[in-house]
Amino acid sequence: MARSICKRIALMFLLLIGMSFLVFASLYIAPGDPASMVAGPSATEEDIANIRVSLGLDKPFLVQYFMYLKRLVHLDLGMSYTSRQPILSELLVRLPHTLNLACAAMIISVFLGVPAGILTALHKDSFIDNFLTTSSLILLSIPNFLLGVILMYFFGVKFKLLPVGGMEHFFWTPEGFREAILPAFALATGTMASFIRLGRSAMLDVMQTDYIRTAKSKGLKRGAIIFGHAFRNALIPLVTQFGTSFGGLLGGAIITEQVFVINGIGTYLINGIRNYNYPVVQSTVLLIAAMFILINLIVDILYCVIDPRIKLQG
């Protein structure tokens, strides 16, 4: 097992390097001259030329890429063109806001989605099943931003029950909880829908296995079968979904942050794109993607700890 975990980690590094190359290359060919952006509007031709040399922008593409990698390893993400501050510190200030939102959304989707999925499986083809399966399709079809706007209108503007925007506190504090409900719910729906669908099919699969039949023929009570035997086994495929979903939530948070005016890394990224602030775009995209890869790796390892039958592949 240790060997396959090592292999997995090595693959993750390859993926990260590939990703950094893709991100670097895509913004290398983007229009605009970084040297004149760094120099500012009042710089002379000579200043710009000096800056170009000092940043190494006169070097060939691959050399520049390796310089970029070297800086990345030293956690030097460069300077923001607009604020002239180091990007790393700007990201670290904003990251907790995004994680706060994504974690709150994850909790909502797991604690509503998984029980709903299991409920549909236990009452297959009943009214509850049809109702929840159809609503999960509808939840999947509403764009996040639209749901955010609708929730904001009803709960924030019309009935004034919850704050309309901003997430300044962590969601486990009383103020933070009220602030988190709307944005987290708006972000969670897609993930929740996938948990409902996956929970349903996982539970249906488990209920058809031999050991459940044995448990039934032993005369075990329905509750004991469901919670003692079936539920625990149905959770296994859901663990993988957890990894993919968290990445999706981090990506989706970019949009929800815009709707609810939350100063997270998503807002930072969008402002970066609007202002042609390439180092900011590079670093934010890389950070989100790297977190996604890392979470998937952790989930993969967890997966084989939970279920020793599964061997890590690749």
Binding site: L15, V23, A30, L137, I142, P143, V157, L269, G272
Partner: protein, 306 residues
């Protein structure tokens, strides 16, 4: 013996689909919507950019039922009156919302269709090549893994950052974003088809690789491709409206559904219909594509269910 007739699999699938009421409803909604969008100039006399400052922020037809028409009565407000002809009301510049929905649909649906087709073309080719030529499998699929490693809409945003903000680049970005889904699914299906006896038979008859690949394997992957394309169409529509909402889609005054929702933000308090009308249109369209995709999958390729 009489049962042995040549059946057209396409016709069988269409017949099955037409027996499903929900699928027919969705199909009808989409066809009507597409026709309305194409023939927009015949349906509405207004232009999407025509401003009329005298009728800013008017409500739609629903205001007729509740409005106070007597100028003497308390609560009378000329600004809350429905202006006949502007069925869905007007926006902050006095532009007709119905016309903007119709012309905006041209952008949303065109971008959706073109980006899905572009993604399909490249993705299906990659998937087929990866499945058929073992040497190409690893390089192609590792690139797809790399593209898959950007969660959600992040990849589309990176591409827009690289190319600049305009509608063509947005289309390209959404297309590239959908390539890996096509490639993965088609590769999986093509690997199965490749092992079938009739492929072996064709090969032993001396057929060339290109013929086997495009004439036989591609044809047998078609059901899968149709299902994925319908579902991708739904995600493309969500993406284009989301990117427009974020200001990375159309250039004003060109309307687009997501952009209309974004523009309505400031009017949320006094004219929420400006948000809800385009919102409902986006939602209904996406739901129809998703349900259609769901039913098509049940008919054409139930193995895709997980």
């Amino acid at each position: 013996m009489s049962d042995i007739r040549r059946t057209n699999p396409f016709r069988t699938a269409v017949n099955k689909l037409l027996k499903n009421k929900l699928a027919v409803v969705c199909l009808v909604i989409l066809v009507v919507e597409i026709l309305m969008v194409i023939f927009a100039p015949l349906i509405t006399p207004y232009d999407f950019s025509e401003q009329d400052p005298s009728i800013r922020l008017r409500p739609g037809f629903w205001a007729q039922w509740t409005e106070i028409t007597d100028p003497e009565a308390p609560g009378y407000n000329k600004k809350n009156q429905y202006v006949p002809g502007h069925y869905l009301g007007t926006d902050a510049f006095g532009r007709d919302v119905f016309a903007r929905i119709l012309y905006g649909g041209r952008i949303s649906l065109t971008v959706g269709v073109i980006s899905t087709l572009m993604g399909l073309l490249v993705g299906v080719t990659c998937g087929l090549l990866a499945a058929y030529f073992p040497k190409l499998d690893n390089p192609i699929m590792r690139v797809m893994d790399l593209l898959f490693a950007f969660p959600s809409i992040l990849l589309a945003m990176l591409i827009i950052a690289m190319l600049g903000i305009n509608i063509i680049n947005t289309t390209i970005a959404i297309a590239i974003w959908s390539i890996p889904s096509f490639a993965r699914m088609v590769r999986g299906k093509a690997l199965q088809v490749k092992e079938e006896d009739y492929i072996m038979a064709t090969r032993s008859l001396g057929a060339r690789d290109s013929r086997i690949l495009f004439q036989h394997i591609l044809k047998n992957c078609m059901p899968t491709i149709i299902v994925i394309a319908t579902m991708r169409m739904a995600s493309s529509l969500i993406s284009i409206s989301t990117l427009s909402y974020l200001g990375m889609g159309v250039v004003p005054p060109q309307p687009e559904w997501g952009d209309m929702i974004s523009a309505a933000k400031e009017q949320m308090w006094n004219r929420p219909s400006l948000t809800f009308v385009p919102g409902v249109v986006v939602m209904v369209t996406v739901i129809c594509f998703n349900i259609l995709g769901d039913k098509l999958r049940d008919i054409l390729d139930p193995s895709l269910k997980d």
